[in-house]
């Protein structure tokens, strides 16, 4: 039984994620796997992903991973990254794609007409680079990370949770959008902790020791 299973559904570079997890958890058994049994057996699951929503969902369904992902998200410490956050929702505007429906709400695109900063400069899409993440609620995975710390983003769509209580972090481009969600044993982020230097490694280190409880620790 692996300590951490990184779900491989053929979308993007999973080596960075696996290497970063190995870096913060020396000695832990980290497997990159597309085997539903291995995902269900692992103690904790990282669900990454890049690319288009429709391709991601097709790859998940084709590989028979849907059940295992949904079950893992219902039962053990689970970290979604980038597309691994977006496809947890019900529907993505990208390719008009039905998604996993673990979380209520939809995934929407940065609208062209709003992509101006306060000086009127055009803002580029994808939102690519390092942006501040405001921790809108306390969570064990924020431990040791400054509120407002910068993380690395690359995306053109973002999540719009139907339940405001899911939001645990926001960023701004140029308006506030939800970039981190948590409920029970699931924590999922739009940014890439595996590419976010010290802040990202700290978040991953917090994840590999997390008990899966989303209530803030009492001090």
């Amino acid at each position: 039984m692996a300590d951490v299973a990184v779900v491989d559904y053929g979308m993007g570079n999973l080596h960075s994620v696996a290497k970063a997890v190995e870096h913060v958890a020396p000695g832990a058994e980290v497997v990159v796997t597309s085997d539903p049994g291995a995902i269900l057996a692992a103690k904790r699951v990282v669900f990454p992903g890049q690319g288009a929503a429709r391709d991601c969902m097709a790859a998940i369904n084709d590989r028979g991973l849907r059940e295992a992902i949904v079950q893992a998200a219902a039962s053990k410490p689970f970290l979604g990254i980038c597309m691994g956050l977006q496809v947890l929702f019900e529907h993505s505007e990208e390719g008009d794609t039905p998604c996993l429906g673990v979380f209520p709400g939809n995934v929407v695109r940065f609208p062209d007409e709003r992509m101006r900063d306060d000086q009127g400069n055009k803002l580029k899409v994808p939102h690519m680079g390092w942006n501040n993440v405001r921790q809108t609620r306390p969570h064990p995975l924020w431990t040791g990370i400054d509120d407002g710390a910068r993380f690395y983003f690359v995306h053109s769509f973002y999540v719009d949770p139907a339940d405001p209580a899911l939001a645990i972090g926001t960023s701004s481009y140029p308006y506030d959008f939800v970039c981190a969600c948590a409920r029970d044993n699931v924590f999922a982020v739009q940014f890439h902790p595996e590419k976010s230097a010290a802040a990202g490694l700290r978040l991953l280190a917090n994840f590999v020791t997390w008990d899966g409880n989303s209530q803030p620790m009492s001090l």
Binding site: S16, G129, G148, K195
Partner: protein, 256 residues
């Protein structure tokens, strides 16, 4: 608060070593790639770009080992370019730990490659590198695309070419002024501005940085989303952190 402008040190790699030349010739040894990558990460680099300028295909696989070593130790985005001809080259670099792959000459000889790769791997990991040189085409300044490390003219208008690459799925443009590369007199700001105004995807300005003000100008005057430089960092003239402080003093949003 907000999206930071990125500073990207660039490492030209050949035969396993980082080198730096002027106008793509007269190469000087600048050190071990893994060591240099770690140093820039410590200094706060936002991203690293590796350009494999290896001439011989025998040594091509060396870059894969270098990227593997760097990716196991440095947890910021890594872009790799040089010699990318087919989707399988992109796959091998991504599997070695690259986050983005930069395509230059092959995009000109086979534009469909950009579409195939962005469809297959996602736009977020496909950077198109454009080497541009100013030319005389009527009254307005225009720029022509060059390939093969800046040696071969293509007859393509650079800005038009940038738009086409965007339409084919490029996620970002790495824009190098061949007139300025290695010359240390600053970016070609007209070129940078022409691209940042014409495109909706991020533009990385490259070629010509000799001091920290040049980096600031690339953003504030050229409108670049990121600035790339090599020699001012490699030979210890400035650290990435000094560059960021200089930008922050001029009101540019940076990650410090």
């Amino acid at each position: 608060m907000g999206l930071a402008k990125r500073i990207i040190p660039c490492l030209d790699v050949t035969a396993g070593r980082v080198v730096k030349g002027v106008n793509f010739v007269n190469l000087r040894d600048a050190g071990d790639p893994v060591e240099i990558a770690r140093r820039y990460d410590d200094q706060g680099a936002d991203e690293l770009t590796f350009l494999d300028i290896t001439a011989s295909s025998d040594d091509r696989d060396l870059i894969l080992h270098i990227i593997e070593d760097v990716a196991a130790q440095v947890f910021i985005p890594l872009t790799v370019g040089g010699g990318v001809r087919q989707p399988n080259d992109v796959l091998r670099l991504l599997n070695a730990g690259a986050d983005k792959v930069s395509i230059n000459t092959s995009a000109v000889s086979n534009p469909q490659l950009v579409k195939d790769c962005s469809d297959r791997f996602g736009s977020q990991c496909i950077v198109v590198a454009i080497d541009a040189k100013q030319t005389v085409w009527g009254a307005q300044p225009r720029w022509e695309v060059f390939t093969h490390g800046g040696r071969r003219p293509t007859g393509l208008d650079a800005v038009e070419w940038g738009r086409k690459m965007q339409d084919l799925g490029a996620g970002e443009i790495l824009l190098t002024s061949m007139d300025r590369d290695g010359a240390k007199i600053g970016f070609d700001l007209n070129l940078t501005r022409a691209f940042s105004d014409a495109l909706r995807i991020p533009v990385i300005a490259s070629g010509g940085v000799g001091n920290l003000q040049h980096l600031c100008d690339g953003v504030s005057k050229g409108g670049a989303d990121a600035v790339l430089a090599a020699s001012i960092f490699h030979f210890g003239e400035y650290t990435v952190e000094q560059a960021k402080r200089a930008m922050a003093e001029q009101g540019i949003e940076v990650r410090l």
